[in-house]
Every structure is written in structure tokens, then in C-alpha cells.
Symmetry: none
């Protein structure tokens, strides 16, 4: 079953609003087994909306629109689509009563312009809006003049506000799809998230062993972000579960310790979970990462149980006075050095009374580099009661990427320590 | 000049990734005076990519694609578009040398599959990628067999990773557009960024006085994000400058001290600039904001000159030992209280030897609230040599929004202190 999604709104094409509907609806639909084959954004212009709907009706089993059902002058979807399909609009008494009740509850009189939301195209089904006034509308276009063989398509128009769209999708659209279209093909999707292996190496390592499964219908996708690469395995049909499980084992074998999760979670969530399970506490001394590691950790609910404290010690005096890094070490090795990283990790561990100390010191740039220590040089250290480990890395990238990759490696360093994995493990080479 | 944007990537249609390119590119393009008339997402499938490119070439002056230029097997844009347009691919020695240099700098050997990124379609212009390996590609399709009258279109293929796409757009695409397409219609856009005034109040205050200018062609837009509202004033044509300047004065008068910038800069940039100009230093003690304030400040190049140090003191012992907050105050008033916020601000100022101390303590949730201090309660304090000020706020929102709004208000507190503005100024009411 194929779906096309049409988002309307000038603010989307002016770049003033992020399109969150795409991700939300695509994810829901693909998890239900539907295949979204295209997403389109057009402005609130009758001609553009009709063009997009007509084209999508020519390709997909389901066409879904968002937005344009409200009461203002730029809400045009209902009227223009009804006119295009030759379906006259009639006021629906039940919808009007619902709208009146909403306004009564808000103790406000009903403006005339709001009544347009009670108009329903002939033959359309009303999708109730429990939290707003504009209902959704569904139409079976059959015969469908825009599609080869006049094959029918299901057209669903949904309101724009997320707080109205989300409950309407779950409460009305999901049952409607099942009722009109019947059972979907089974769909299975699993994602393994890795860090420490470049994208090209990931593919080199798993591309060949997975090739036979890809020929059998496995969909293999990569998504690289600073400091990490996701491997996405998915398949449809009766063999989906077997194909994805088989591929999952291949990837797990090949990338083993570089996979930090096979659940839909971030590295910081993995770390807070591991620390919580082991009843261990963490303290943090950040220089070049400037608070980003603390920010990521404290985004996780419950972080305060295991993350005791963090320091952002940009200046040498702060490193000395707050963390007890000796002025001799600072002078002899420089603030960006392995001895200083070690002293920071141990210093913050002691100062906070934590089980683990994590420290980062480096040169984020654009200024501050030297020939011996160019911009992008960073030392990461983890200290625990019985020991300490430090690694050196080079990330000669822009400031934001440098911070992101550094924070990723710092969290990974702790994950490796907690799981007893080697800190400087070499990424796997081609099979 | 019309533009259509095509984003490729199965992860977008599977709802696994949020499409941030749409907003970023649409915003840049509309600010430059181009009109984005449609945005399309298709999967990494040669047929779907070619269909979308062909259709867009039939409608728009500029067609821009993102993604699909990397080295893995699901990177298909370069090859499939070149084949569709009948342009053979040739290896480009300069691009290959650049790729080799990147790998050399990373101290890694060059995998064969990466070489595909040096292939350039015949007649295409290479857009350099200063931070990655895959260059962008630009082609003038002239004659354009897909468009009425064979009118030419400019086709631009850009890489998917934002850290590569953003500098390439600013550095290579903007000059290319001007060179190939010439002058766009005069377009003027100014944005005033405010904090501390709810969106509905902003509109109430400026909507009526700006109404006559809107009738003359002023485009007035609002963009509300957690803790801030942008007012966007824009216009096209010969009167654009006059209209926008007039409206600008109206907004500046109406919202005065709540406007933190009329440049395209973030509040943290404003703050680092103000501190630098005044040769003042800042230290930071964060509890509930968990490092986000330090992270925002250290995103600004040069922050290390004025931002001495930050502490993330989640636990009471850390507040006591590191910041010198007395155990009596902590016991009597609780960690989330005005006296503790004050003691933290003064404590971190002294500990770091800074001119200003900024402190935040609150309950981010979802747990931790009480009847007297519900989730969302936060105290913010700023301390300087001769004094101290503390404010109380309530943000009963989700954890991420709470942190964002809190960080915004903390930075604003320092801005107001530096400019001698009252800390608890009441937002302006309707005119």
C-alpha cells in the first residue's frame, strides 16, 4: 500500500517553520506497514494544492494532506479539493453542533468564518476532532480519473495543528485505513547505531555479507551524523522478520563493540542507563566541549541520580583552583595535553566524590591552534578509583562539529569503560 | 525566480529523520529573494529521483537536490541524474586531489568506493566542499526538454550532511545563483528578535499600527520558539526598502527593550559581544539547565575570552562544596529557592574570580515537584561586585522546553544587567 503526503503552508516554503508532520506521519505510517513514496510541500494556493493532489492521486493508494482546513482566508484545501473532484459542499449538522459546543465551552460567541469548517464534500466521511473545531475529511475517489485504469485512491485531509492531527490520526485514520484498505503487508525495521567507525568503513564491512539478503528484498540504509553512523535494516512481506533478523546478526557480528545500541535511543541515554544499573556516579570536567556533554546527559530524565556535577573550566586558573591541576603540569605540557586531561578527570572525580571522572580538553578553533597542537586536537580522559585512561583525537572541523564529535567520543569512552571494552579499539576492516 | 527543492533519503520517508534541510534552505532562499514553490521528498531510488527532478525541471528556474552524493550504495543522485540528462561522468583530478588530501589529513587510506565522489557530469560546475569529500554539482539544463518552450533551468546537487551543505550553500551556491540568474527583484527582509513577550501580545501590540503598511505590500510574519518571538518584516519591489524601514521603526518603538537584536544573531552572541565590549568576565553555576547555558555561550567563537568557567551543580553537596552555599540555607529554603540562587551566583563569581556570576536552580521535571514548588519553578540570579538580583519564573513544560526557556531567560538577565534595564520589566500591553 503506497502513500503520498502533501503538507500545505507558506511558512514551510519560506523556511520559517520546521516540518515536523513529515517525520511524525511517515514514522507512524511506515510502522503500520504502509510505504510512503513521496512527500510534497506546497503553499496555501488553490492551484498548487490541486496540482499536488491530482499528481498524488495518479500514483498512490492513499493521499494525505495536512493543513488548510481552518477558518482563515489562507485555508483553502477543503474548498479547492472538493471543487476539483466535483463534490459539492454541504453543511454537516453534527459537525456544526460540535463546533458550537466548543465555543460555548470557551464562553465565546461563534464567528461566522468558523462555520466554514462544518462544510463536508458530498460522499466524504467526517473524522472527528476531539480537541479542536475542524474535522478531518476522507473520500474514496472511485473511479479515480487521475490514475491508470481509474484505480481508486483514498484521499484523507487532516488539520495542521499537531495537537489536533496526532489524536485524529491515531483515533480515526488508523481504523479507517484498515477498514478501507484491509490488511497491510508485514513490515519490520531495526536500527543499529554505531560510533567510532567511518561511514565508508561501515559499508565496506557489512555491504558484501548482506548483499545476498538485499537481493532477497532487505532494505539496507545508512545515516551518518557527526560522530556516528546508523545502519537501518528493513523489509516487507512474509519473509520480513527472517530477513531483518538474519541481517541484524550479520551487522552485530561485524561491528560488535562499535554498536552502542540496537534500540531507538541516544548514546547519552545508554550511558545514564548503564550508570544507573551499576549504581555508579559520574562527574565531568569540560574545556573545549563547553558544557555540551553535561547538556546531553541532563536531557535524559533521571540523569540527576547518577550525574553528580560538571565543570566547564575554560581558563587555566579554573583548571588549577577548581580541579587541582598543578600549575607545573599546565606550564610544562600546556592546557591541551594528556597529563592535563588525566589531572582534570581525577580532579573532578575527587571534587565531586563521584565513582567516575570524565574530562575533555582540546582546541575547538577557529583560533588557538599551533603547529604541534593544531585546531581540532583533543584529549579525553576517564578516571575511576583504581585507574585512569586517556586518548588523543583530531577533529579538524568547524567548531560545532568539533564539539558534537568530541561529546560523542567522551560519552563513548565511559561506555567502553563500563562494559570493559578497549578504549583504543581499531575500527573493523573490510571482511 | 522560482525554486523547487528535492530532498532524497529513505530515512526521511520512513520518518526516522527530521528534514531540517527544508527549513534551512527555504529560509536562505526566500531571504535572497527567490520563491520556493515546491519541496519534494523521495527515497534513494534512481527512478523516484529522476521522476522528481524531471517534474521540477518542467516547472522551476532552479532545481536543487540534497543528499545522494556520498560513497555508499544508496547514494544514487549523481549517477542517475547524469544518466537521465545524457551527460557522461568523468573523474575530476582536482576533486580527487582534494579527497586524497582530506584522507591524508585524517591519516586514513582512501577506500576505492570514495573515488566515485570525484566523478563529474560533462559540462557540470564543481562546487567545492571545504569540510568534506563530496563536492556539489551544478548544471545549466539548456535547452531544457522538460519545460515549456525548452526554457533553461539551473540544476544544483548538494550533499546531505548539514555541516557540508551549509558552507557550500553560502560559499558557492549564492554566488552561482547571482552569476547564472542575475539580479532578483529587490527584496528586503529584517527580523527583530524579542524575548520576554508572548506571541499573542507581540501581535496585539504591533498588528494594528502595521496594518496600513501590510495593505501596501508589507509581509509581516511571526515566528515563536521557546522563550522568544521573532518579528519578520519583508517586502518586494521598488518600495520594499521604504516599507520595511517604516515598519521597523514602529516595531522598535513598540517593543523597545524586549528586542535583543535586529541582526541575525543569537542571544548568546549578543551577550558575548556586550561582555567583550565592556571587558567583563562571566562565571556560571547551573543546576536545572544542566550545562545548556554554558553550551550556548561556548558555541560563540571567542567566548573563552569572557566566559571564565561554569559549574553544573546538580547535587546539594556540589552546591555546598564547590560554590560555598551554606548547608543551613540549603536545608531551610531547599535547593530550589531565591536564597540558594543568590548564594550560587555569588559563590561561582568568587570561585572563578569573575566580574559577574550567573546562577540557575529549578525543577526541570518530569519528577521532583511539590505543591509549594511545582515542576517548572526556577530561580535565576545574577551577582556582580556591588550587588545581586534574583527573579522567579514558572515554566510548566516538558524537560527540553523548560531547559531552553530557562537558558534564554538566564542570558537575558545578564543582558538586562549590562544595559541597565530593569530585570522584571512588564511586557508592553496592546496599544
Amino acid at each position: 500500500m503506497t502513500v503520498e503526503l502533501i503538507n500545505t503552508g507558506a511558512e514551510l516554503l519560506l523556511g520559517r517553520t520546521l516540518n515536523r508532520h513529515q517525520q511524525w506521519l511517515c514514522r507512524r505510517l511506515s510502522d503500520l506497514g504502509y510505504e510512503v513514496i513521496r512527500q510534497v510541500t506546497v503553499a496555501d494556493v488553490a492551484g498548487a494544492i490541486c496540482d499536488a493532489v491530482r499528481e498524488s492521486l495518479g500514483r498512490a493508494d492513499v493521499v494525505m494532506t495536512t493543513g488548510g482546513l481552518g477558518p482563515t482566508s489562507d485555508d483553502l484545501t477543503r474548498q479547492s479539493v472538493a471543487a476539483m473532484l466535483g463534490r459539492p459542499l454541504h453543511p454537516d449538522p453534527a459537525v456544526l453542533a460540535h463546533i458550537q459546543a466548543v465555543f460555548q465551552r470557551l464562553n465565546r460567541s461563534l464567528p461566522d468564518m468558523v462555520r466554514v469548517q462544518a462544510l463536508v464534500p458530498e460522499g466524504a466521511e467526517v473524522l472527528p476532532n476531539p480537541v479542536g473545531t475542524a474535522p478531518g475529511l476522507a473520500l474514496v475517489v472511485d473511479p479515480n480519473p487521475y490514475r491508470a485504469g481509474q484505480r481508486r485512491s483514498l484521499l484523507i485531509m487532516l488539520p495542521g495543528p499537531p495537537r489536533e492531527l496526532h489524536p485524529m490520526f491515531d483515533g480515526a485514520v488508523v481504523p479507517l485505513l484498515a477498514r478501507v484498505l484491509g490488511q497491510t503487508e508485514p513490515y519490520v525495521c531495526r536500527t543499529l547505531r554505531t560510533t567510532g567507525v567511518p561511514e565508508s568503513l561501515v559499508e565496506k564491512r557489512i555491504g558484501a555479507p548482506l548483499a545476498p539478503m538485499v537481493r532477497e528484498g532487505l532494505d539496507l540504509g545508512y545515516c551518518a551524523r557527526p560522530g556516528e553512523v546508523d545502519v537501518r535494516l528493513s523489509a516487507r512481506g512474509s519473509r520480513a522478520q527472517a530477513l531483518v533478523s538474519g541481517a541484524f546478526e550479520v551487522v552485530r557480528e561485524a561491528l560488535s563493540s562499535f554498536i552502542y545500541t540496537d534500540q531507538e535511543e541516544e548514546l547519552e541515554e545508554v550511558l545514564i542507563r548503564l550508570l544507573t544499573e551499576r549504581r555508579l556516579t559520574l562527574a565531568l570536567a569540560e574545556s573545549c566541549s563547553g558544557g555540551l556533554i553535561a547538556h546531553r546527559l541532563t536531557d535524559v530524565p533521571g540523569a540527576s541520580q547518577v550525574f553528580l556535577a560538571g565543570m566547564v573550566t575554560y581558563s587555566n586558573p579554573a583548571k588549577h583552583q577548581w580541579l587541582g591541576v598543578s600549575e607545573t603540569i599546565l606550564r610544562e605540557h600546556g592546557a591541551v595535553s594528556a597529563p592535563v586531561a588525566r589531572a582534570m578527570a581525577e580532579g573532578v572525580r575527587r571534587a565531586a566524590g563521584a565513582d567516575l571522572g570524565l574530562a575533555v580538553t582540546g582546541i575547538a578553533g577557529p583560533g588557538g591552534g599551533t603547529e604541534a597542537k593544531p585546531v581540532g586536537t583533543v584529549f579525553l580522559a576517564v578516571a575511576w578509583e583504581q585507574g585512569m585512561e586517556v586518548v588523543e583525537r583530531h577533529h579538524p572541523w568547524d567548531r560545532a562539529t568539533f564539539k558534537q564529535v568530541t561529546s560523542q567520543q567522551a560519552l563513548e569512552l565511559v561506555r567502553r569503560h563500563l562494559l570493559g571494552l578497549p578504549m583504543n579499539e581499531k575500527p573493523p576492516q573490510a571482511a
